[in-house]
Symmetry: C2
Subunit: 273 residues, 2 copies
């Protein structure tokens, strides 16, 4: 039997490489059990950098005695052509789709990196959303909750903060969050601070065992982290969501991306850029 | 002359749709001046949802009298086949690349959505990085700066916080930030709090005019926002970066993604998931 080869995978772009990484990850996770040796090369935006990269790919191919995978989102034709001279298998995003789109739209594409220079609008929307999330993290303030697009509610450590920040950074959505305290959970009413914003509330719940693990990391062997506490808080929170007919989701097996997109869908939120 | 058609563009996925949006955005921005009517359909993961979507695409095609663009990252063959019966132009990510990769790797891909269920490791790395960024935002604490992967330094409103949060969420990188105060800028020394971590420092600078605009939004007509203040703070900050040989970049024309990737590259940072 051959020992398994850890195939080299290059993610290459004349911009950040985020598109080529996304694309490559989505493809590679389709191959069960294979491991890859990853390397990202962003900002390959001159012929010299492209030629240097070709040498790296070729050297890697020789050392590993296997053809490296090259996930490329290089839009500049000259640079892409140089990179394609390497010994790797080229999965080139723009080669696959740009020609088709040009035919359909009846115009020639730019074939060059689009400057984001004028994009202060997007930057400002993002900044404001991030500041909003930071100023409305963990129920610290009910100021300007009218300006919230959504308010995430859940017990401590159920995943509210990263989800709010992701909504802000990725979509410019203003997401506040409110942590349910033991007092809140004892009441049959909604917490005072968020009561008038019921239509914006979205609940996060989590499996008690997972919550216990997370809280143990923070405060080992505390009452806060005890499995019994986690079980009762989670049960009370879910009862509250049901009693008041709030949309909610279980965060246990979801990534932050999946949570964000589920919330956008359930609450009909609009991205701000 | 025809009035310009705002072509409908669908972003479709059996997961979050983030890959199809990335891919579609990168392609569409290559067509100068064209506007598109965007709609994202995530979690199209049953044949029924796929058939409902086909009807929506077909109705849109009739209403607009033009073929909609459909950027698809649907991995399930049955669902993808249904969506492809619609009247749109299908730019299907998995169709373009999965077969090529199967041939190269000599194995059949899963052709089904990969559950992220076991991915608590990734979630934990992310949570920790987000908590780290929040606990080390705006120089509030020098506790555990040894655990920082990088420390962003710059004048107030130069873009530190969103960049730190993006590094945390996207790469699990622990990024602290330190705001340069007028006192810091008067000194020829590095600020006391970060002095012992010089090898982790990365400077952010910004054009004075842009900084002025941002600060005006926050505190209109203050000394803090005055163009003269912005000019002198920016000049002093850049002088400090140069004097101490710190790597730095100008944030004015860069997106948060570009900043994050530039910093990773300059500081040789490693993603934690």
């Amino acid at each position: 039997m051959n020992s398994p080869i850890r195939r080299p995978a290059f993610f290459v772009s004349d911009r950040t490489g985020i598109t080529s990484e996304n694309m490559g990850d989505a493809l590679l996770e389709q191959f069960n059990g294979l491991k890859f040796k990853r390397a990202t090369y962003p900002f390959v935006d001159t012929p010299d950098k492209a030629r240097a990269l070709v040498q790296i790919i070729n050297r890697t191919a020789e050392e590993h005695e296997v053809r490296p995978l090259v996930f490329s989102s290089i839009v500049n034709d000259e640079i892409r052509t140089i990179v394609k001279t390497s010994a790797g298998l080229h999965l080139s995003f723009f080669d696959a789709f740009l020609g088709q789109l040009e035919d359909e739209l009846g115009m020639r594409a730019r074939h060059s990196v689009v400057s984001r220079a004028q994009n202060t609008e997007r930057y400002d929307a993002r900044m404001e959303a991030v500041n909003f999330a930071l100023n409305h993290d963990d129920g610290v303030s009910d100021k300007n909750l009218e300006e919230a697009d959504v308010i995430l509610m859940g017990v401590s450590r159920s995943g509210k903060t990263p989800t709010c920040l992701y909504l802000a950074l990725q979509y410019g959505i203003r997401a506040a969050n409110y942590p349910l305290t033991p007092e809140d959970l004892d009441s049959t009413d909604l917490p005072r601070m968020v009561k008038n914003h019921k239509h914006k509330l979205f609940g996060l719940t989590i499996e008690a065992e997972r919550l216990h693990d997370i809280r143990q990391e923070r405060r080992p062997d505390s009452r806060y982290a005890a499995l019994a506490t986690c079980r009762s808080e989670v049960a009370d929170a879910q009862a509250m969501f049901r009693r008041h007919n709030l949309p909610f989701t279980n965060t246990t097996h979801k990534s932050v991306e999946e949570l964000a997109v589920s919330i956008i869908q359930a609450c009909h939120l609009k991205r701000r850029f």
